[in-house]
């Protein structure tokens, strides 16, 4: 039977379409499975402990004789670290992108971008290693008031370096995408090059830059390895920038050995909280992006 017999071909068209569809549906399936496993294991636990005492209590002691499961210290630490690292990293990244875009001679731009993109591929453990061996001792010896190197400050510094390449890349592309007519128009009206760039081009690129911001925030929020190597790991309420604390991600990673069934469910519940945070971040981004008329 020749391969190109018509009946076979009709069958083949249908079969392949089905195969392709199933593969595409797999993403949906995987997402469903993840949500199912997390929520099925985590929600009942939260219900059992009570949402308020789970989320807002600051005592985390799953292996004590009277186990306590309060994650608020971790929530705070996560928020502090994310906010600080994004403030530093995205801020510097944006300024660096502007410099690359406008104030660097064009023959240097491609090699510099190439360099920065290359550095975007450095694994997060290596950032953690750098943080552990360079940043933590530095903070401990020259900055810290209490002689402690671990903590929110170190973690934020490490994370801000980590999100630099992303922020620079995305912001640069956003700036590049702005029509050069805006810049030329501003110059023609008498603005200096810097004024034209900061007052006209930068605002025009804001949706792309905002996308970069959200990306960076997501990375900072979800990072685990770089954080656990420099933040200390003690589940206490963060009061200063240089004391040993934990983020939500660190809580899950570090608790991986505490495996009573309740402790495991507590970890899953922490994962649920983290998942919801990430979801809120992504959804509000998509929503805002949709509102601006589909700009990206």
């Amino acid at each position: 039977m020749p391969i190109s017999s018509l009946r076979y071909r009709a069958w083949r068209e249908k079969a392949m379409k089905g195969l392709f569809f199933l593969s595409a549906a797999f993403s949906l399936l995987a997402l469903g499975a993840i949500i199912l496993y997390l929520f099925a294991n985590g929600l009942p636990f939260i219900a059992k402990i009570g949402f308020f005492s789970f989320f807002f209590s600051t005592t985390w002691a799953p292996l004590a004789t009277l186990p306590q499961y309060g994650i608020f210290s971790m929530v705070l630490a996560t928020l502090y670290v994310t906010a600080l690292s994004v403030a530093i990293g995205a801020g510097i990244g944006l300024l660096a992108a502007i410099c690359l875009f406008r104030f660097v001679p064009s023959r240097f731009v491609t090699p510099l971008r190439w360099l920065i993109d290359l550095l975007a591929g450095i694994p997060s453990v290596i950032y953690g290693l750098f943080g552990l061996v360079v940043i933590v001792p530095f903070i401990r010896d020259y900055v810290s008031a209490n002689g402690m190197g671990y903590g929110i400050l170190s973690a934020s510094l490490v994370l801000s370096i980590m999100i630099l390449p992303t922020m620079v890349s995305v912001s640069y592309d956003a700036l590049k995408a702005v029509s050069p007519l805006y810049y030329e128009g501003a110059l023609a009206l008498g603005a200096s090059r810097e004024e034209a760039t900061f007052k006209i081009v930068l605002p025009a690129a804001k949706s792309g830059i905002f996308a970069g911001l959200v990306l960076s925030t997501g990375r900072a929020l979800g990072e685990t390895m770089a954080v656990i190597m420099v933040i200390g790991g003690s589940p206490q309420l963060p009061v200063s920038l240089t004391e040993s604390v934990r983020t939500l991600t660190a809580n899950i990673a570090m608790g991986a050995n505490e495996l009573t069934s309740d402790a495991l469910s507590a970890l899953v519940a922490t994962g649920v909280v983290l998942f919801v945070f990430a979801l809120i971040l992504n959804l509000s981004f998509s929503f805002l992006r949709g509102k601006e008329g589909g700009h990206v």
């Binding site: 944006l94 300024l95 620079v168 685990t224 190597m229 983290l274």
Partner: protein, 286 residues
């Protein structure tokens, strides 16, 4: 008079912003370069034959980690690539008429991409370590990584497919080819460079990942894995282990190895792009 002052002040302010931005660029470059330099300086001296290829006895070896990493790449990319490419084909070639279907699938892909890696680790633990009863295993880690890199592959494959001009497809249809033949004989070959690049980048992702593995493969640093179901470790995970358990020299040395690995992958992607430029049209597919 006051106009001139305000004008000058504004000019100076923005000029100072320019200087700030140059400082920012400088800082960024210094920070990023110093990480690489730090790793290279501290680590290269500590690379020994024992560390790379020896047996993990009284002195550490990353040979188990090396094997583990290769296995993870094979499982993760081997599982995610066919599914991801097929998904992208469906989204770009078949799904024009079903607006809601596409939206659902896209939202699913986007959401998957936004899940923190440690949550994937948790999922992998619950499913593969506990529910499947495998305990810690490289297979479980690899499959979890597969789900994690799936959105990446789908997204960039779809981009590559959409970049193939419609005129090429029309030419194929007008010659009597059906959709399947058009996809395999015309569209995929045209998109193949982009797809291959995205697979290599996905490999880079797998090699760099550690949060997922910390919960699924067991971080068994000293035993050479014998099967996919063995527990094991990876290069990235070993760095964490060495750093946290008192082997700073080995940590830096392993970091050098990992960096070389990741950089080689990027270089490979770059070279492949060049190779495809030359190969196009010489021995075309039928």
């Amino acid at each position: 008079m006051s106009d001139l002052k305000a004008f000058r002040r504004s000019r100076n302010f923005f000029a100072s912003l320019k200087i700030t931005s140059m400082v920012a660029l400088g800082l960024s470059l210094v920070a990023l370069v110093s990480i690489v330099l730090f790793v290279l300086i501290r680590g290269t001296g500590n690379i020994t034959f024992q560390l790379l290829f020896g047996r993990y006895g009284t002195s550490p070896s990353i040979w188990p980690a090396f094997l583990g990493t290769l296995l993870l790449i094979a499982v993760a990319v081997g599982a995610a690539a066919p599914i991801g490419i097929a998904s992208a084909i469906f989204l770009s070639e078949y799904a024009e008429r079903d607006f809601w279907l596409i939206r659902c699938l896209r939202i699913a892909t986007e959401t998957l991409a936004g899940i923190p890696s440690i949550v994937y680790g948790l999922f992998g633990y619950l499913v593969f370590v506990v529910a499947c009863g495998w305990g810690y295993s490289l297979l479980g880690g690899g499959l979890t990584l597969a789900i994690m890199i799936l959105p990446l592959i789908v997204r960039s494959t779809e981009e590559s497919l959409l970049a193939v001009p419609m005129a090429l497809r029309e030419g194929s249809y007008a010659l009597g080819a059906g959709k399947v033949r058009t996809i395999f004989a015309v569209v995929l070959p045209s998109a193949s460079e982009g797809i291959l690049t995205s697979l290599i980048l996905a490999m880079g992702r797998v090699v760099s990942e550690s949060a997922v593995l910390i919960m699924t493969v067991g971080m068994v640093v000293n035993i050479v894995p014998v099967s996919p179901l063995s527990a094991g470790t990876s290069l990235a995970l070993d760095i964490y282990y060495f750093a946290s358990f008192g082997y700073p020299e080995e940590a830096s040395a392993t970091a050098v190895v990992l960096l070389v690995f990741v950089l080689s992958l990027n270089l490979l992607a770059f070279l492949l792009a060049r190779l495809f430029e030359r190969k196009k049209g010489l021995h075309g597919q039928s």
